[in-house]
């Protein structure tokens, strides 16, 4: 395949970026999108140009490192995949592909397509945990039975990889799917009940502080989420916050 790539290039956080065009040829439809970028970089480096910087690590869709806004969609046109699992067979010969970083003020660009998503870490630090110290004598794992339904639902919420596609796709740069998923995981489990009120209030407060926008229920996040995290989690978070606020 021959393609025209239009890639956002930005030297560092403080410089102004721009879209730069790169033609690329002989791309096998069986390679992944990031491997296509590897090919581009392997051509740029010997030509004395700076390679395109992008985040990536596991390349099997679980670490959440890779991002990229491809032709106007987070993780590209395919569904339920991260960019690293997106394959070139989803594109046609002669296509022009726009590649931009995930955009949100809360995700400042570090370089080219690399953004800083540490806001997510800080939200979790505000309360995304159960306060339990490590000890050799925690109660037995089977001491509290948890219904399969609740365990499965908690797992579905916990499957979030923290990639930020929800924020990138949202017209409001809202992080509610991410926060909702984490709040939900603990809200659904008996272990999470003790701190439930503080958790949701603290995490939402931190989310607001980080400068994410508000949710207007467009549902774009759910569609673009590579792990299919459901909007139900946002609804649950909203309920949890009301409950917590009523408790005072």
């Amino acid at each position: 395949m021959n393609l025209t790539l239009k890639i956002w290039r930005q030297k560092n956080a403080n410089s102004k970026g721009e879209i730069v065009e790169y033609p690329i040829s002989d791309i096998s439809p069986d390679i992944s999108f990031l491997e296509m970028l590897d090919v581009l970089n392997s051509q740029l480096i010997p030509a004395g140009e700076e390679p395109v910087a992008f985040d990536h690590d596991c390349r099997e869709g679980i670490c959440g490192s890779c991002s990229l806004y491809i032709n106007g969609e987070a993780h590209g046109p395919d569904r339920r995949v991260t960019t690293c699992q997106l394959h070139m067979r989803k594109f046609k010969d002669g296509d022009t592909i726009f590649i931009e970083p995930f955009r949100a003020n809360a995700f400042p660009v570090v370089k080219d397509l690399v953004v800083d998503r540490s806001a997510f870490d800080r939200i979790q630090q505000a309360g995304g945990f159960i306060s339990i110290n490590t000890s050799g004598n925690t109660q037995d794992g089977n001491a509290i039975p948890i219904s399969k339904h609740a365990a499965d639902e908690a797992m579905d919420a916990a499957t979030c990889i923290g990639c930020g596609a929800c924020v990138a796709s949202c017209k409001n740069s809202s992080a509610m799917l991410f926060v909702g998923a984490k709040v939900s995981q603990y809200a659904l489990l008996p272990q999470g009940q003790v701190e439930a009120a503080d958790r949701v209030q603290n995490m939402v407060a931190q989310m607001d502080l980080e400068g994410f926008g508000n949710c207007t229920n467009t549902g774009a996040c759910e569609v673009e989420c590579p792990k299919g995290i459901s909007l139900e989690n946002i609804a649950r978070m909203n309920r949890e916050l009301v409950k917590a606020s009523l408790k005072g």
Binding site: K6, G72, E100, R103, A106, N214, C215, T216, M237, R239
Partner: protein, 227 residues
Amino acid sequence: MSGFLKSSIGRKIAMALSAFFLMVFILQHFAINILSVFNPDLFNEASHFMGNNPLVQFVLQPVLIFGVIFHFVMGFVLEFKNKASRNVSYAVNNGNANSTWMSRNMIYSGGFILIFLVIHFIDFWIPEINTKYVLGDSSGLLADGSDYRYFVELQHKFIPLWRVLLYCAGFVFLSLHLLHGFSSAFQSVGANNKYTQALKGFGKAYAVLIPLGFIVIALFHFFNNSH
């Protein structure tokens, strides 16, 4: 609680609650208006009741006005804040791939509804308030005292074509607004469960049928007048 209302989610829920109130109001408004098509007398009586009942006038009406203003102001505030959370926009953004046009453009449908509302207030509400509270005429009767004035005034308003078209356009935007807004309000207050799909269907029906009904009323009077 003050912390709750400052939080993003608190504001979102407040938007939803005002939306619920407005949706109930629209239903009520529609129920009375449709009477004008079938039974002008009944319409007149209902209008007179609404216009002179102290509970409606001095409790519900202020609440409604507050609800309307709140919904608009909060809507604009949130929109501007949300816009401001992304300073650099995408060169290419394929919103249609993941969301409906309606959901992304609530500010425009809402904005048009606001323009419509202003005209609607000038058309009906301000004259009404003027008659009752400035001129002090609470009789609800026509100048010659032969009948209630409400139905006649209504007919009169739908003579000019420009107004009929404007009203129809207003209702189209109301429909677009509701097509997203109805189910969105439920999602905002945390109602997302096994009934959600059914509720979405109901919401779509509401969003299409009620504005369509208003359009029918407007057209009905327009065509009746011209004959």
